[in-house]
């Protein structure tokens, strides 16, 4: 149908509101409560427009268009309405723009300037509201609130946790958390962007700059494999804050808290600011040339007993060059799977593990099975899609995990299963909930990254793949790190070259198992304490090897103790490169700030090293090679079908299961103080009910030859049996060693 806005004819669809048509055609209508991704409440009245024939001005956000409707967004009727609304809104709004962080990007300021009146008839006292403490991430200044209720609706509709609510009426209206809680959602930071005024603010950014000073640089999130698009706002070479960059295929208008507050760690005191070499048992400052010389010499010396492990947080360029340098020096033992311990699946693995469907298609799935994943904590952005699917199309969601995860969408059936039970669950489907799943429906299985940590991952993934095939289901493999897909594609695995080309002689080789002892260990952007499936083992290896090379941004105890050379690696925000996200999209990120101290972009360091080793390659050649690899790649489905397989046999030992925490999944995140003080990082160990241990008991854990005594912050669980659950990266996880191991508690 056609409608007329300011006497111009525009196309409109049925059921559209005036504001939607106007927005599509860039006609400005002021608004506060309306937001394109939230429901319509029409409470602020700022969007009043003149509709010819109507007695009073109508709210554009809630008025549905009619054929031939004539709307005026300018003219005296509209302008009078706007002026009066503005005057009402400003009655109780304080005049503290000079100290308000929103000033300069405040919708109230802008609209008041464009549509308000310069004078007010209100002479009485303004109201004040006491601020709420809602946690470390979002600060409040509630006197500034104009009760648009965007934050409340966000909680209800998108985040799925009703955290903020409105109490009272009229003058007494207040936005509050229920019973003085702090915000718990992993999406809570989004209320900062949504709030049109300065009532909800970013705590990290508080009072540190002004909006007009900030430089905006676009980038890609390095905290999960979805690759959310973000803008960093910098001032004087420091990142002041992070905001979402709209991307309809990934993060919509939202951002996970780990992305929004994840830049805090960059300025940590633990940053390594110059190259170090060991001399007389101490790390002393040095220069890259010396390091390159030492490293290249050792690489030639220990060719056959070198292990190189690289973080999957590295960019594709770094990965490509890293494996090239090593392979051309005759070192085949390269891997990125530091957190895994079962590699039997590797020859059957897809060339690029991926989500398999577009995120926007999740909505249309009829059955979704989540395996070992806590979507709302680990992949907050994905939870928006799943929640939408449940709400719009009542998708049936089944969760099969080792822990009773809370999700922000409705789960129709959930079960806590130990890894062994999980393995069997998919082969004996006739007597469990999976028997109800119809193969003619649209089915999706999402496997969480913590599945890969398990000791029987090969069996689990094989059984799940077979099952998925039998019900015609898509299989989504979520990566543990932002560039896990890239690591597979770039050949950072021992048995495949870039592009997934198999190397026959290295079938069945994984980075540690194939070498009982290492003389040279190269560890790239991984922290031995946190990033390895078995930290005790890797530290043992570091102790016994002859030479240890670290590429790292932060100093840790073990690096300090065992490194022979340390390259100062710039963090992601200080370098440029590209990531392949879980949808197989190659996304490029820019350098946002200059590297701290003498730290350097990993690519630059590696180029220096390759020159030393006489490998001729440069920046441009690398990008060219990567593009060629990606264009030639022959991507098959995600099914991992293995022909011969033995079921894990029963043993009566405890299994250890790691609960993955997305707020400490990479070195920079681990150093974000405000994220670490959120409730999600409570460290605990959970043991089976049957063990009869209370929080006072001292526990000794015997793992292979190591024995640890800890006084644990213990929770007790009923199911799954014979398991202990440990929060990843917590104090206990560090002590107990392998992510999934048999332990004796005594």
């Amino acid at each position: 149908m056609d409608i007329y806005i300011n006497n111009n004819k525009y196309q409109a669809l049925d059921d559209e509101t005036i504001i939607q048509v106007a927005d599509r055609h860039d006609i400005h209508i002021p608004r506060f409560c309306y937001h394109k991704r939230l429901s319509i409440v029409a409470s602020c009245r700022m969007c009043l427009v003149e509709v010819e024939g109507a007695k009073y001005p109508q709210p554009a956000c809630s008025t549905i268009v009619r054929d031939g409707m004539k709307v005026n967004t300018v003219g005296s009727v509209t302008e009078d309405a706007q002026k009066s609304t503005m005057e009402f809104l400003l009655i109780n709004h304080p005049l503290d723009c000079p100290v308000c962080d929103q000033a300069g990007e405040c919708e109230l300021q802008d609209i008041s300037l464009d549509h308000g009146d310069y004078k007010s008839n209100y002479k009485e006292i303004k109201r004040t509201v006491i601020d709420k403490d809602i946690g470390n991430l979002v600060t409040t200044e509630m006197t500034r609130c104009i009760h648009c209720s965007r934050c409340v609706r966000f909680g209800e509709e998108v985040a799925g946790i009703k955290e903020l609510g409105m109490t009272g009426r009229g003058e007494e209206t207040k936005i509050e958390t229920f019973v003085n809680q702090s915000l718990t959602s992993e999406l809570s930071g989004n209320v900062i962007d949504l709030c049109p005024v300065g009532a909800l603010n970013n705590n990290l950014y508080k009072y540190s700059a002004r909006t007009w000073d900030l430089k905006q640089i676009s980038s890609i999130s390095s905290n999960d494999c979805l690759g959310s698009n973000i803008y960093y706002h910098t001032y004087k070479n420091e990142i002041k804050r992070t905001v979402p960059k709209e991307n309809e295929q990934i993060n919509l208008s939202w951002l996970a808290d780990s992305d929004r507050f994840g830049h805090e760690g960059i300025e940590s005191e633990e940053r390594i600011l110059s190259p170090f070499v060991r001399s007389e048992n101490k790390l002393i400052q040095s220069d890259l040339e010396t390091l390159n010389q030492a490293v290249s010499q050792k690489m030639q010396e220990y060719t056959s007993s070198t292990t190189a492990v690289m973080s999957a947080q590295s960019s594709c360029e770094e990965m490509y060059l890293f494996q090239k340098i090593l392979r051309e020096s005759g070192i085949p033992n390269i891997d990125h799977r530091s957190k895994e311990c079962d590699f039997g699946y590797q020859d059957y693995y897809p060339i690029i593990p991926s989500f398999d469907i577009k995120l926007s298609e999740i909505e249309f799935m009829e059955n979704i099975i989540l395996v070992n994943v806590n979507i709302s904590k680990e992949f907050p952005i994905l939870s928006v899609y799943l929640r939408n699917a449940v709400k719009q199309n009542s998708t049936n969601i089944i969760s099969l995990s080792a822990y009773e995860y809370l999700e922000n969408f409705d789960i129709s059936h959930s079960e806590t299963l130990s890894p062994k039970e999980l393995e069997k669950y998919f082969t004996t489907t006739s007597n469990n909930i999976l028997s109800n799943i119809n193969k003619d429906k649209k089915n999706l299985i999402i496997m969480g990254p913590s599945t890969t940590y398990l000791k029987n991952y090969t069996n689990i993934t094989n059984n799940i793949s077979r099952y998925a095939k039998s019900i015609n289901s898509k299989l989504s493999l979520l990566g543990d790190q932002c560039n896990t897909s890239g690591a597979w594609a770039m050949g950072v695995v021992p048995h495949r070259l870039p592009g997934g080309i198999e190397i026959a002689e290295f079938k069945n080789t994984a980075y540690l198992s194939s070498y009982p002892k290492n003389d040279l260990l190269i560890i790239y952007n991984l922290e031995p304490e946190y990033d390895f499936s078995n930290d005790t083992e890797i530290i043992d290896r570091l102790k016994n090897s002859k030479f240890n090379v670290f590429f790292s941004s932060y100093m840790t105890d073990s690096i300090n103790k065992y490194a022979d050379v340390v390259y100062p690696l710039a963090v992601q925000q200080e370098s440029h490169g590209s990531y392949i996200n879980t949808n197989k999209q190659l996304q490029v990120f820019n350098q946002v700030i200059s590297p701290r101290g003498q730290s350097k972009n990993g690519l630059e360091i590696l180029l220096g090293l390759s020159k030393r080793l006489g490998i001729n390659i440069d920046d441009e050649q690398i990008s060219k090679d990567i593009n060629e690899i990606l264009s030639k790649m022959n991507i098959k489905s995600n099914y991992i079908l293995i022909d011969t397989i033995e079921m894990t046999n029963e043993k009566n030992t405890l299994e250890k299961i790691i609960i993955r925490s997305s707020n400490s999944n990479n070195p920079t995140l681990r150093r974000c103080k405000s994220l670490l003080t959120t409730h999600d990082n409570d460290d605990f160990m959970s043991i089976p009910n049957s063990m009869k241990i209370n929080s006072e008991s001292k526990i000794t854990i015997n793992e292979s030859e190591n024995s640890f005594k800890i006084k644990a912050n213990i929770k007790v669980h009923d199911k799954p049996d014979n398991t202990i659950l440990v929060k990843m990266n917590g104090r206990y996880a560090q002590k107990i060693g392998s992510y999934n191991t048999s332990v004796d508690l005594s």
Binding site: C97, P98, V99, Y207, S208, A209, R210
Partner: protein, 161 residues
Amino acid sequence: MNSIIKFIKSLFFLEIFKGLSITGKKLYKKPITIQYPEEKTPQSTRFRGLHALRKYPNGEERCIGCKLCEAVCPALAITIDTEERADDKTRRTTKYDIDLFKCIYCGFCEEACPVDAIIETSIFEYHFENRNDGIMNKIDLLKIGDLYEQQELKDRSANDL
């Protein structure tokens, strides 16, 4: 033709007499110059001289770190860094520098300030012996503010018509 007349006129040194006649006239009038520095010209109460940062009577600095002065300054002479002050959680500057070599004494900063913190005092006699001294920091500015507060109040009341 014109040039010939000009040439003949020049032979009589007429310009010199014209000039000397002005000199002669001024010789017997009261001089308009004064004997600086012994004598000084009267100064407007709105004079825009050296900058200062003011405090409230209770000793609290006025400046709230809004950076409006920095934003308005046409010469980019002001540099401010801010933070949340630990004890009372208010917005405060950690750095407030004015580069007097850049400043053009336009007074925009004074006008922009919402709390009358930055002002331009009546001081106009000052010099620097080092290049770096031309950059006034927060401590200097607050000190001048203390010294000239009374003068400023007087000037302000004179301005209130």
